[in-house]
Amino acid sequence: MSKTEVKQALGSGVVIEAVQSLTGAESIAPDHMGRSRESAVGYIPRDITLEPTLLRQIEVLLAQQAVMLDAKRWSQWMEMFTEDGVYWMPAAPEQSDWASQPSIFAEDKLLMEVRANRLVHPNAWSQAAQWATHHLLGATLIEQANPTSLSTYTPFQMMEVRRDKVRHFGGSYRHNWVLQGGQWKILFQRVDMFNAQASYDYVIQAWI
């Protein structure tokens, strides 16, 4: 019997032909934040055309910087900065001043020295576990160039293993370089992590 009823039920139906309202569920007042989103976010780097040798020179320096971090050559890494150089990782992308806004890293060369010395101290207990990082850099864009100063933008990814866990960080570097004694040195390095505001399982021990 039920077979017939099911057959009957399936034998008729409605077709929603015309949309009655343009907003869909008209009972939802569109006044809460979720209904108007920013159409675009983030920093859009510029790219200026330059002679390829200069770009190559900077790419090599960036690659070396990543290698120094992965190889835990802290003092060589620090030597890439000018004496007044700063490494800054803001807590949020909209931040613009390392000295007045709370940061994840905000270190001049002296504070870098504190961190570097800590990492090699025999009683840096957190360093007992196996710990290594691996950096991968994307294509560098030169944003600004003068005879003695440059600004570059470089995307990066970094994986870290600690004990038996792997973490993944990513984002972009914005370097300000100055020419000192024929060498390009880092005056300011801004590191924007795309996951800066996500929760951290454990902390970050060294520069990313």
Partner: protein, 444 residues
């Protein structure tokens, strides 16, 4: 099947390892402690405008703190009464004039009362009644505010907020009184760090004066070397080197820093960093406070000897530097801390920046201090899985502390009175559960 014997688990000078590792004990802690006590939700400046909200966890309960049109702050369960969907899907934001469920468009006023249900005629003749609170967003049983800091309790019974805080309310006084207008305002950056260990390790560690020179030796020593180098060339070094270098003080120095231990497990580690330098910024700030409060009060406010105040079981308040760390336990071996910084309204910018250095160097996710704390607690959590020894020892200076009016003062800074006092509170919270629940853990 062995049952829990509270007298056996928590003894005056030692506790059983299962209180850190056992999932059933953790569940009972959530029910008896976190879902009963007054829990910090956030600062009122996080929800300035009507509709602004902040989500948070109280025990295992997803909650939302929200500002209503009349200015009142409500703390609601973040759950649609229809099918259980969370109404707020982000940490913070503005929900407009009410909440709307993304599943079936049930909507609610900012005080949680149901506002509209689509095709309401579908409920005619059913047991659904919109006047029944079961069909509105449920509210925390009690919400209260102390000097702008909002707390909620999911239990209608128990002490009032002021009674719960007791003398530990000085945490918020010490923060706010440093502002010439008596108020602080949140800095809208929240660092969130997860530790792979039990929440109690954090709480014990905060007032544990024996650990800094051991755990933080590497950072303290490195900072001191640079601090001395700067002093040699410039005469004086910025205060933030001192923040780090004092961690590596000698055992004897740490033993001289007193702890004060209150009922309900709260406590204070007294000051040791000497945060009253005589530079022009500090003098300007002090002059502001004297003008606002008079000589005597200003001096009282500036000379309180506090490094940080612990509100048991989840909050560490570093009042002289206006930062807090709030624990949200996620499991017996997993704890989230939410780390916030506040500005002293009306105080000089330089005072904010000085405190910000502590936030950056000690409390950020790149902290050179907690790197080693979290390592210790992970190893403790793993070590306590060992059957070799069921006990955690709190024997140091047992019987050597002074009790006055229910407050325990350590005569030695490194006394484990801190942990003994916290477990006294833990026992009080947990005792009613043991009258009615049988839990299976192996005890000897």
């Amino acid at each position: 099947m062995p049952t829990i014997d509270l007298d056996h688990l928590v003894q005056p000078d030692r506790v059983h390892r299962s209180v850190y590792t056992d999932p059933e004990i953790f569940d009972l802690e959530m029910e008896q402690i976190f879902e009963a006590a007054w829990v910090y939700c956030g600062h009122e400046s996080q929800v300035k405008e009507p509709g602004q909200f902040q989500t948070l966890q109280i025990g295992r309960q997803p909650m939302v703190m929200v500002r209503a049109k009349d200015g009142q702050i409500h703390v609601l369960y973040n759950r649609c009464p229809h099918r259980g969907v969370q109404l707020c899907g982000s940490h913070s934001g503005n929900t407009g004039s009410g909440f709307v469920c993304p599943y079936h468009a049930w909507s609610f006023h900012l005080d949680g009362k149901v506002r509209a249900i689509p095709l309401i005629q579908g409920y005619e003749g059913t047991n659904l009644n919109t006047e029944d609170p079961n069909f509105s967003m449920a509210r925390a049983a009690r919400v209260d505010n102390y000097r702008g800091f909002v707390f909620a309790s999911l239990s209608a019974q128990g002490p009032s907020l002021i009674e719960f805080l007791g003398d530990a309310k000085v945490a918020f006084d010490d923060m706010c009184d440093r502002s010439p207008v008596g108020e602080v305002e949140v800095v809208p950056v929240c660092h969130r760090v997860v530790q792979q260990s039990n929440w109690k390790f954090f709480m014990e560690n905060q007032l544990d004066a024996l650990h800094p020179s051991v755990t933080h030796q590497s950072t303290g020593v490195s900072a001191r070397r640079v601090e001395n180098q700067i002093k040699k060339t410039q005469g004086s070094a910025p205060l933030h080197y001192h923040y780090l270098s004092t961690f590596a003080s000698s055992f004897d120095q740490w033993d001289s820093v007193q702890t004060v231990n209150f009922p309900h497990g709260h406590g204070i580690l007294k000051a040791y960093m000497g945060l009253r330098p005589t530079d022009p910024d500090t003098l300007e700030h002090e002059a502001q406070l004297r003008l606002a409060y008079g000589e005597e009060k200003a001096e009282e406010y500036l000379s309180r000897s506090i490094h940080h105040v612990l509100i048991y079981p989840y909050l560490s308040v570093q009042s002289p530097l206006q930062q807090i760390r709030c624990l949200r336990p996620l499991g017996p071996d997993k704890t989230l801390s939410e780390i916030w910084h506040f500005r002293l309204k009306g105080a000089p910018e330089a005072i904010y920046r000085r405190a910000m250095w502590y936030f950056n160097l000690v409390n950020s996710p790149a902290t050179m201090i907690n790197a080693d704390d979290l390592e210790n607690w992970t190893r403790a959590q793993n070590g306590l899985m060992s059957k070799a020894n069921d006990w955690v020892s709190f024997h140091r200076n047992m019987g050597g502390d002074t009790e006055r009016d229910g407050v325990l003062y350590s005569n030695n800074g490194t006394s484990e009175v801190v942990m003994r006092n916290q477990f006294k509170a833990w026992r009080n919270y947990m005792a009613p559960a043991y009258a009615k629940v049988t839990v299976t853990v192996t005890t000897d």
